[in-house]
């Protein structure tokens, strides 16, 4: 009988020990989690502006299009003999002191600017006795620049933007020069 009581007591102690060891500190905490991801590709290119020309006589009609995938600003340089002058008509175009015709709005991908019409004036050329040529060239060069945003989120044209390598050395190239190399040069007979 005593032996049985001892065995029972030992077994009870063992059970109490087991229960005591099993009771661990609470390991489960309420947590929640959510996540989301997004990825977007960027495209950086140089050549945006493509021109088409039409007109006859002393009128040249110029159309400039953005043929790439990113918005841009465009301008046009018109090169002709010094004794030749031109007046222009074109909604949204303006002639700057640097000699470029600037289109004032951003051209979205695939969009074309309004037509720029140049009326060539040869009055001074004909009066110049030194001129003996019967015809001359009017060369039109389109250029484009990226749309940049200033600190006030106002869009501006990156005509002065320069590129550089990771070592922060400034390259001699300018983004606008890339567009110039793709420009069309055409002449007009007058």
């Amino acid at each position: 009988m005593k032996m049985n009581k001892k065995v029972i007591s030992l077994a009870a102690c063992a059970l109490v020990l087991i229960v005591g060891l099993s009771v661990k500190p609470a390991m489960a905490y309420f947590t929640a989690s959510v996540s989301a991801n997004g990825k977007v590709a960027v495209a950086i290119d140089d050549t945006h502006a493509k021109i088409t020309e039409s007109g006859s006589g002393q009128t040249k009609v110029i159309s400039v299009a953005n043929t790439e995938q990113t918005p841009c600003y465009v301008r046009v340089a018109v090169i002709m003999p010094e004794s030749i002058s031109a007046t222009y008509v074109g909604e949204g175009w303006s002639l700057d002191a640097d000699g470029y015709y600037y289109y004032n709005s951003i051209l979205q991908p695939g969009e074309s600017a309004t037509e720029l019409t140049l009326s060539i004036d040869t009055t001074n050329a004909l009066a110049d006795a030194k001129l003996t040529y019967a015809d001359f060239n009017v060369i039109v060069i389109p250029e484009s620049a990226r749309v940049l945003y200033d600190e006030n989120e106002k869009p501006t044209a990156g005509w002065d933007q320069k590129i550089y390598t990771e070592e922060n050395t400034e390259s001699n190239s300018e983004t606008s020069s890339e567009a110039s190399s793709e420009a069309n040069s055409e002449g007009g007979n007058n």
């Binding site: 077994a11 990226r146 390598t165």
Partner: protein, 251 residues
């Protein structure tokens, strides 16, 4: 005979062994039961309920069921301009029935195809935090790609969404950085090819929101997040540490 069988030493030891096996198996469950003595938590113990949700510009993009409702940045199309600041309001909402502390992990990176390109600078992806005073940055856990934020105040149960970010800008510096390589060099001259480093690359943004209960938050953060939260008497997180001298391990 029956009585002797029950008091048999072998029988008692065998019963103890069975009890040991049984109790060790239910050890975790017992902890859960202990944690659910609060009636409010018991009501929502079913994990099928929505917990924390993620919104982008007021559209649901992630819920607590780990289902991605929508991807981030799905609004970006071909008109997206590098250098322009766009509205990017990412927010989260505590859908639980209990107050919680929240942390947000924002990861920004560049990819070439499916492979991460670590030569490119993730800092040029500018995701602006809506209210920087409301968050503590865990500098020790943050890297150039990943920033870990802790929301200082406890988030009330079912509260209105809390703003994380408010705008996105991809710095236009990426349109200026190039790599030059010599294609051909002859006596007539050298041909150099210039390539834009970021052309054709993809920028990626990952936002993760984690919540823990405010009850026993210190222990919950230590167990779930591996951090020590410095919480003042108002319940506001004042700091985050990863190791503290003198901390005792309760286990």
């Amino acid at each position: 005979m029956k009585k002797n069988f029950l008091l048999n030493k072998t029988t008692i030891l065998a019963a103890s062994a069975v009890a040991l096996l049984g109790l060790s198996a239910v050890g975790s469950t017992r902890a859960a039961i202990n944690a659910t003595t609060n009636e409010a938590i018991v009501a929502d113990f079913a994990t099928s309920n929505v917990a924390v949700s993620l919104y982008e510009n007021e559209e649901l993009i992630g819920n607590g069921k780990q289902e991605e409702v929508n991807s981030l940045l799905g609004w970006i199309d071909n008109s997206f301009c590098i250098g322009k600041t766009y509205e990017e309001k990412i927010s989260f909402q505590n859908g639980e029935d209990y107050d919680a502390y929240a942390r947000v992990i924002i990861t920004k990176s560049w990819y070439e195809g499916e492979k991460k390109d670590q030569s490119l600078n993730p800092a040029l992806i500018d995701l602006a935090i809506a209210d920087s005073d409301a968050w503590i940055i865990d500098e020790a856990a943050s890297t150039p790609e990943r920033t870990v934020y802790y929301y200082k105040s406890p988030v009330a149960a079912k509260a209105d969404p809390i703003a994380i970010t408010n705008s996105l800008t991809v710095n236009d510096v990426i349109t200026e950085i190039v790599t030059e390589s010599t294609v051909e060099s002859t006596t007539a001259g050298t041909t150099i090819q210039t390539t834009y480093n970021y052309d054709g690359k993809s920028f990626s943004i990952d936002v993760q929101v984690d919540e823990i209960q405010t009850h026993n938050a210190y222990d919950a953060a230590r167990a779930s997040w591996g951090v020590y939260l410095d919480i003042d008497e108002n319940g506001t997180i004042q700091g985050v540490a990863h190791e503290t001298e003198g901390q005792t391990n309760e286990n």
